[in-house]
């Protein structure tokens, strides 16, 4: 009997050494350098989709969807700031730098946020005049690199966000590869044009929460105690990080899970360091509650927020607001199928493009190349973002009304169940169809 006719199994690929893994081994063997990319964790993770709202029933009375009010406003910075930030919707725009993004993209983010009544945020490299002009509410990031850090800009900001870490790379600094260091970016960051810019991972003049408390004192003194001070941490040790941020004097704490994006870092960092967003919320809220600071120090959650259901679920678990980055870029036009031919030419496909550090973004968003950047009309893109923010808000309101809440902040963990054991344990809500919460009963 020939081998061809002999009964045999079909070829079987290894689950451990799958096609992607094999391609990465070949890529590493060929180049000798780790893979760098943008975005957040792409692996399958327990997430908000693993939660469901219960809605109204005999013991809960729903609100009329198109009649009764369901408010969405949030006040950020009520602890110490004399001028807290008042936003109309519980969704803010996360920090993204001019440098990683084009000027047009930054302008579009500002325009979209303005129309929706929320804030946007600077990034590494400082504040551009255009960004300030187009953002009614602008949060100024205070980063370890202090690139472009200027006390005049600090005073112009509406809030200050001290970045300790971010979800894509807790413990890692920023990267902006040489291809994106244009004359203007180089000038803003006081660096030679064309070099790989390595942002520091630690702040240069403080270590630990005791020092940070004094740093916050300095920032408040310089800005006349007017501005809310946020502390942003990656999803690492959310209970202790939140507790220490409160101790250090934060007005607002931003917890960014591992699905949160970055402009560029090592893929191994993105996929293997940090915790899923879903796992970070309850410990952070617990720390706030233990210190009697829940709703006094506001909690913003970010990392993989995509729709109004995610917003509502994060708030039900105890957040005051959420922040979006990747989703905002997609709303502007990032990874749009209209550029499929160009994505293919770059060796990828629309929806998977993540080589943001290379500056060749066909959508003109993650680039400093003038011809590419000019593809993005800030007015049109800004309108797309405001539409998206509006839809997310309407969706969150729809869910809140169905749960009988006249403010999204009235959503609570008791409105939720989990579809999986993992999500049940992380969100600390019962597994659907049971009263069981792993680790609690």
């Amino acid at each position: 009997m020939s081998k061809k006719n002999k009964p045999q199994t079909i070829p079987r690929h290894s689950a451990t050494f799958d096609e992607y893994t094999l391609s990465e081994i070949r890529r590493a063997a060929s180049t000798g350098i780790y893979d760098i990319r943008g975005g957040g964790a792409k692996r399958q993770l327990p997430h908000f989709d693993d939660l469901l709202f219960l809605g109204a029933s005999m013991s809960r009375y729903p609100l009329e969807g198109y009649r009764e009010r369901c408010d969405t406003n949030v006040v950020l910075g009520t602890r110490y700031a004399s001028k807290p930030l008042e936003i109309d919707i519980p969704i803010t725009i996360a920090g993204m730098s001019f440098g990683s993004l084009s000027g047009q993209a930054k302008e579009a983010l500002g325009r979209g946020a303005n129309t929706a009544g929320t804030s946007t945020t600077t990034g590494d490299g400082g504040m551009t005049p255009e960004e300030r002009e187009h953002s009614a509410l602008l949060v100024y990031q205070y980063l370890p690199s202090r690139y472009g850090m200027n006390p005049d800009d600090l005073r112009k900001a509406d809030a200050i966000e001290i970045v300790v870490g971010q979800g894509a790379k807790p413990g890692g600094g920023g990267m902006l590869m040489g291809q994106k260091i244009s004359d203007r970016v180089a000038s803003m960051r006081t660096l030679p044009k064309g070099i790989d810019q390595r942002s520091a991972c630690r702040h240069p003049d403080w270590t630990g929460p005791d020092d940070l408390e004094i740093k916050i004192l300095e920032l408040r003194e310089i800005t006349n105690w007017e501005k809310p001070i946020y502390i942003k941490v990656g999803g690492a040790r959310p209970y202790y990080d939140t507790a220490l941020a409160i101790k250090a004097g934060a007005d607002v704490i931003v917890v960014d899970g591992m699905q949160g994006g970055t402009a560029a870092t090592q893929d191994v960092f993105i996929e293997h360091v940090g915790q899923p967003t879903l796992a970070c919320i309850r410990p952070a809220v617990q720390a706030l509650q233990d210190l009697d600071m829940h709703r006094k120090v506001q909690l913003i959650v970010s990392g993989g927020i995509r729709n109004g259901a995610d917003v509502a679920k994060a708030i039900a678990l105890g957040a005051d607001a959420v922040s979006i980055g990747t989703a905002a870029l997609v709303a502007l036009g990032d990874n749009h199928p209209q550029y499929e031919d160009e994505y293919q030419a770059l060796g990828t496909t629309a929806g998977a493009y993540d080589d943001w550090h290379e500056g060749q973004d066909p959508a003109g968003i993650t680039t400093q190349e003038p011809a590419l950047a000019s593809r993005l009309d800030p007015i049109t893109a800004g309108r797309r973002l405001s539409n998206y923010l509006k839809v997310m808000t309407l969706e969150a309101q729809t869910i809140a009304r169905a749960c009988g809440k006249n403010h999204v902040h009235n959503l609570e963990p008791e409105d939720l169940v989990a579809l999986t054991v993992e999500a049940s344990a992380m969100a600390q809500v019962p597994l659907s169809g049971t009263s069981w919460i792993p680790g609690q009963n």
Binding site: T31, D152, G178, T190, I195, R198, D205, I214, E218
Partner: protein, 224 residues
Amino acid sequence: MQTLDLQAIGLRKLNSTLHTDNASTAYKITNPMGGHAIACGLNRAMDVTIDGHAGFYCAGMNQLANVTVQGHVGVGLAENMMSGTVRVTGNASQAAGATAHGGLVVIEGDASSRCGISMKGVDIVVGGSVGHMSGFMAQAGNLVVCGDAGEALGDSIYEANIYVKGSVESLGSDCEEKPMDAEHISALSSLLEKAQVKAEASQFKRYGSARTLYNFQPDNAGDY
């Protein structure tokens, strides 16, 4: 000169007085007692003398003002300073002049570790010695050390100049000794004179970036 007693009026009143549009042009701050964030965020031309020791972030983010500390200072002296002059007659703790963009910092005594970390254009003159990791990721400006420098001087330095008169325990990654040409001697002489520090410029060695780490090369992975 107006006198402000920190212990009597408190930090908020002190700094808000210095920040007001109609602030005086000269102040003396008494009883600082190691307080933090003294005279930070000044943004107009004025002379401020702190009569005693100051804590963290003294004269932080200074613009235009001339601040003199008659004593020692804590962490982050004149951090992110943009312009003006900050002088300390004693010693400075770590991260003096961190990320500062401009102006002149003079420390007549010693400075601890990470002096001039991520400096972005400031001139820092230290009459004594500096601790380890000084000039770490220094981007622009001049760090002058009239004494000795600790280990890993200028690690990952960009385009700043470091001048050291005494010994250097070790250089950090990508930092190398550079030629001390006539132009550098001249520039350093001017800076020493401006800082009112007596030292002979020709006796200094200059250190800067070897520029081998500016763009990632796998062969240099051990240096990152």
